[in-house]
C-alpha cells in the first residue's frame, strides 16, 4: 500500500497506481442505485397519465419523455440511497445496497444522482415542455430533500407526505402530452397518494423492529401497531371510493369500474385481516398479504385504465 500527497501526484506515482477512492463499483451496482423496480412503476403510472390525457405528441417524444421521467425518478432514488446509507447499513432489508455494502463510494453515488437529476430535467424540458421538466425537478427535490433528508427521520407522517413524490408521475405524464395539468392526472395523483400509507404501513408493521433499530419513526413505532392498523382501515375506506372517481368523472369505463369495485373490496378485506390478526405468524401473513395485494390493486387498476384507453375497451358506465 502506498500513500502519497496531492502535491506529489505528478512526479512520484508508483507505476499504475490509482487513488483508492476512485476504484469504483461494477455497472450493475450503479443500476441498483436507481431503484429499478421503482423506475418500472414510475414509467407505468406516467404512461397512464399520458394515455388518459388524449393529447398528442410524436411517439419518439413520448418515449424519450418516459425515459427521462424514469431516469429522474432513479436519480432521486440514488440521492436517497446516498443520504440514507447510514440507516440502510443497519436494516437487513437494505444492508446489501451498493453504498452500505461498500461497493460504491458515497461521493460517487452523490455525483451520479446529481448528474442524472440535472440531465433528465434538462432533456425532458427540451423534449416535451418546461412545465413537465419543472414537475420532474419538483418530484426529485421533494423525494431527495423533503422526504429523505427531513421527513423520514422526523415524523411518523413521513410516508404520508412523502407519498406525493411517488404520486406525481401521472401528472408529469399529462404535462408532457398536453402542456398542462388536468383533473384526470390529479385524480390519479390522489389515488396513489392515498394508497401509499396503507401499502407502506403494512410492511412497517412487519419490519417495526428494524425501523426501531435504525431510529426511523414509522407509524407502528410511534403511534403503536393498534393505531397503525386502525389508520390502515381509515385510509383504505377512503381509497376504495376514491379509486372509482375516474368512473364518475367519465374517463374510465365499465372494465375499470369492475376492477375498481373488486379491488377496493379486496383492499378492505385485507385491511380488516390486518386489524384482526395481531400476533405471531398470522399477523405477519396478514400484513404481507395486504402489502402484496396493494401492489396488485394499483397495478390492475391502472392497467384497466390503460387497456380501456389504448385498446378500445372503453364502455361508458354513465350515459
Amino acid at each position: 500500500m502506498v500513500t502519497v500527497s496531492m502535491t506529489t501526484l505528478s512526479n512520484s506515482l508508483p507505476a499504475g497506481a490509482t487513488p483508492v477512492s476512485v476504484v469504483g463499483g461494477d455497472v450493475p451496482d450503479y443500476f441498483a442505485l436507481l431503484k429499478p423496480r421503482v423506475m418500472v412503476l414510475v414509467i407505468f403510472t406516467a404512461l397512464v397519465g399520458m394515455v388518459v390525457s388524449h393529447g398528442h405528441v410524436p411517439p419518439a417524444v413520448a418515449v424519450i419523455s418516459l425515459l427521462m421521467i424514469a431516469i429522474g425518478a432513479g436519480a432521486s432514488g440514488c440521492l436517497n440511497m446516498w443520504w440514507d446509507a447510514d440507516i440502510d447499513a443497519i436494516m437487513t432489508r437494505t444492508a446489501k445496497r451498493p453504498i452500505p455494502d461498500g461497493r460504491i463510494q458515497p461521493n460517487e453515488a452523490l455525483a451520479f444522482g446529481l448528474v442524472l437529476s440535472v440531465g433528465s430535467v434538462m432533456v425532458l424540458g427540451l423534449a416535451a415542455n418546461w412545465l413537465s421538466a419543472g414537475l420532474l425537478a419538483f418530484t426529485i427535490v421533494f423525494y431527495a430533500v423533503i422526504y429523505s433528508m427531513w421527513l423520514k427521520r422526523a415524523t411518523a407522517q413521513n410516508i404520508v407526505i412523502g407519498g406525493a413524490a411517488g404520486a406525481l408521475p401521472p401528472v408529469i405524464g399529462q404535462a408532457v402530452v398536453t402542456g398542462s395539468v388536468g383533473v384526470e392526472s390529479l385524480v390519479l395523483f390522489a389515488i396513489i397518494f392515498i394508497w401509499t400509507p396503507p401499502h407502506f404501513w403494512a410492511l412497517a408493521l412487519v419490519k417495526a423492529g428494524e425501523y426501531a433499530k435504525a431510529g426511523i419513526p414509522m407509524m407502528p413505532n410511534t403511534a403503536g401497531p393498534t393505531s397503525t392498523r386502525r389508520q390502515i382501515i381509515y385510509y383504505t375506506l377512503l381509497l376504495a371510493p376514491l379509486g372509482l372517481l375516474p368512473v364518475w368523472l367519465g374517463f374510465a369505463g365499465l372494465l375499470y369500474a369492475v376492477v375498481g369495485v373488486l379491488g377496493g373490496l379486496g383492499m378492505l378485506a385485507f385491511s380488516v385481516q390486518v386489524y384482526r390478526n395481531r400476533e405471531g405468524e398470522a399477523e405477519k401473513k396478514a400484513a404481507m398479504g395486504m402489502f402484496g395485494f396493494s401492489i396488485l390493486y394499483l397495478f390492475v387498476l391502472f392497467s384497466a385504465l390503460l387497456a380501456e384507453q389504448s385498446l378500445g375497451l372503453f364502455r361508458p358506465v354513465f350515459a
Binding site: 500513500t3 502519497v4 500527497s5 499504475g16 497506481a17 490509482t18 476504484v23 417524444v61
Partner: protein
C-alpha cells in the same frame, strides 16, 4: 484524515487488481454506450420535433 506538510490531505494510492481493472473497463464501456445513446437520443429528438424538413432549409 492524514495531511502532508503542505496541508493537503494524503491520498491512498495502489495499483488496481486485475478484477478492479476489469470493472473499470466495463464502466468505461458503459459510459461510452451511454454517450452514444445520448447522441442518438438528441438526433431522434431533433427529427421528431423539427421533422425531416430540417434537411430542407436555406443555409
Amino acid at each position: 484524515m492524514e495531511y502532508d506538510p503542505h496541508g493537503f490531505p494524503k491520498i491512498e494510492m495502489r495499483p488496481l487488481t486485475p478484477e478492479e481493472e476489469a470493472r473499470r473497463r466495463k464502466r468505461s464501456i458503459a459510459i461510452a454506450l451511454a454517450l452514444g445513446a445520448m447522441v442518438l437520443l438528441f438526433f431522434v429528438l431533433t427529427i421528431a420535433k423539427l421533422g425531416p424538413q430540417i434537411l430542407n432549409r436555406p443555409l
